[in-house]
């Protein structure tokens, strides 16, 4: 899967910053941040095989379940906390978001937009939960338990007193301008730079 959201995240990561990558997987993206952005990175990963791959890349990784509240990281410990395409897999996305903007001076979150026209059409016409190349799993065995739309996410941010610093959208090549204009309908993924209100 071509993860265009990651390019956007990379653009937003300041040179030499300290980064916490939540759900870092095999560490490929964190390694990219280290080499291309010179960051000092720590990964959090729950899966042992993924963790070993990340360790193999020379990264520091903590085996931890994000759902357990990320208590091990003190406030303001990182310049940036990143969560890419994992928000929808969390048990309590709102608790994780609140924690992210505490641990990091800023956070970057990307997620697939469930408000995309394809999802709406699929649900509207077929009457069944959308499945696609990006969402290949059936509703009952998917790790994606908390899908949201662009508008849902922004509403949650405002509820949690989280400021949106910047928003970017990822859309198909023919629809990139539509994605910018009507993100909730045309963005396949959304990427947000956020921070705690009043920071």
């Amino acid at each position: 899967m071509n993860r265009l959201d990651l390019n956007r995240v990379l653009d937003w990561v300041p040179q030499g910053s300290s980064v916490l990558d939540l759900g870092c997987g095999d560490g490929a993206f964190l390694q990219r941040l280290c080499s291309e952005r010179g960051v000092t990175g720590v990964g959090v990963e729950i899966d042992a095989d993924n963790l070993i791959c990340a360790v193999q890349k020379g990264l520091d990784v903590i085996q931890e379940d994000i759902n357990d509240g990320l208590q091990c990281f003190p406030a303001q410990r990182f310049d940036l906390v990143i969560l890419t395409h994992a928000l929808q897999e969390l048990t309590h996305p709102h608790i994780a978001l609140r924690r992210m903007v505490q641990i990091g001076k800023e956070a970057i979150v990307s997620f697939p937009n469930f408000g995309h026209w394809f999802c709406r059409m699929h649900l509207g016409f077929k009457g069944r939960m959308p499945m696609s190349r990006v969402m290949p799993r059936n509703w009952y065995d998917t790790p994606n338990i908390h899908f949201c739309t662009v508008r849902d996410f922004e509403a949650l941010c405002s509820e949690l007193d989280i400021d949106i610093i910047e928003r970017a959208t990822v859309a198909g090549p023919a629809q990139s301008w539509l994605g910018k204009l009507w993100p909730n309908l045309f963005a396949t993924s959304a990427v947000y730079r956020i921070c705690q209100s009043g920071q």
Binding site: I52, G58, D60, V61, Q63, Q71, R77
Partner: protein, 370 residues
């Protein structure tokens, strides 16, 4: 094949409690070659009942290789093709270093109960003397499990410039009340054995074998997990305990195993040493002299690897997590994983694919890059 070596130190060594040895001896083994720049030296610290014999065999007749042969050797996680590994018997031990079983200066009488109480930080200082003796001025890594992990952590705090990488497996920043209680039961078993003779059994040609065996049985129990024991022994009976006439006592496999462990240990391990080692465990407190653990660890400059084992209830994962969080709070580089296993506290000594792969991959960052 490996041959133990002996280092003799003629300068006085003073313990934390003020007691002094005018001179002392450490027995140790090394595996691999020290490179010209001295940048590939790794120290292995042993646990409660360990010794300098961490890897390989002393002769072809030896049935069991060293206690951590799983991890140390050519192509193994602690790769002796690349690294120079040093493993010594701790001061106060009973495998050849100066301790309760060796004679007091100017006499033939063994130290017995008179041997000074060592603490973890004393061992660290004595290991530093050994390093200097071997021409090593910095460890590429200090590695240990359980009590060995405590030494590795103490090294990182006491001599930060010496420790580039620190590996603490199934370890803890200090003992819990439950840990101390189990140690006390073990000591009580030894001290109440009539053959203990106030610790002077060697001078009186006695051996508190029953006390040591019982101490080991209790200790060994805490190294295993309930699930691991169920898998391994269940309610199986020893075959010879099925007797047609029903007169013979029925012996469960787990009983037989514990008895065997106790008996074997009681002839191998010195009672006074066991008392000293368990006491050193009780006394260990990594944050001693500091306001808290994080402040203590803030002195360290090492890169850390902490591993816990999911079914370990002696030093439960939470204890490693305490160390991890203290390191994280002070911004130290640390990798942590909780290995999913039924092996309990013994997990760091036993084969497990995830554990071995992880240790092996992490160790790639130790030593000069090829």
């Amino acid at each position: 094949m490996v041959t133990p070596q002996v280092a003799h130190f003629t300068d006085p060594f003073t313990f934390s409690n003020g007691a002094t040895l005018d001179q002392h001896t450490l027995i140790y083994e090394t595996y691999g070659e020290l490179n010209a720049a001295g940048t590939n030296a790794v120290l292995i610290c042993h646990a409660l009942s360990g010794s300098h014999h961490a890897a390989g065999v002393h002769n072809e007749a030896e049935q069991r290789p060293g206690w951590w042969d799983l991890a140390i050797g050519p192509g193994k996680p602690i790769d002796t093709d690349r690294l120079f590994v040093v493993s010594s018997n701790n001061l106060g031990g009973c495998d050849g270093s100066t301790g309760p079983t060796t004679p007091m200066p100017g006499s033939n009488t063994p130290w017995g109960s008179q041997f000074p109480q060592p603490q973890v930080r004393d061992w660290v200082r004595s290991q530093k003397l050994l390093a200097e003796y071997l021409g090593i001025s910095r460890w590429a890594a200090v590695i240990g499990g359980s009590l060995g992990g405590m030494q590795a952590l103490q090294w990182a705090v006491d001599f930060p410039d010496w420790v580039e990488h620190c590996v603490a497996l199934a370890s803890a920043p200090g003992l819990t009340a439950q840990n101390i209680a189990f140690n006390e039961i073990a000591r009580h078993a030894i001290l109440s054995d009539p053959d203990f003779r106030g610790g002077e059994y060697l001078a009186q040609s006695a051996l508190p074998a029953r006390g040591v065996a019982l101490a080991r049985m209790v200790g060994h129990l805490t190294y295993m997990s309930a699930d691991g024991m169920s898998d391994r022994f269940g309610r199986e009976l020893r075959e010879e305990s099925f007797s047609p006439d029903g007169n013979q006592e029925r012996v469960f496999q787990v009983e037989s195993y514990l008895r065997h462990q106790g008996d074997r240990f009681s002839t191998r391990f010195d009672a006074n040493t066991y008392v000293l080692m368990t006491r050193a465990l009780d006394l260990f407190d990594l944050s001693e002299g500091y306001p808290d653990l994080a402040t203590a660890l803030s002195k360290a400059t090492a890169n850390f690897l902490l591993l816990s084992f999911s079914s370990d209830w002696r030093f439960a994962p939470q204890r490693s997590i305490e160390i991890r969080d203290a390191l994280m709070a002070t911004g130290k580089p640390v990798t942590y994983a909780n290995i999913n296993t039924d092996n309990g506290h013994d997990g760091f000594l036993l084969p497990d694919p995830t554990y071995e792969r992880l240790l092996s991959e992490w160790m790639q960052r130790v030593g000069p890059s090829s």
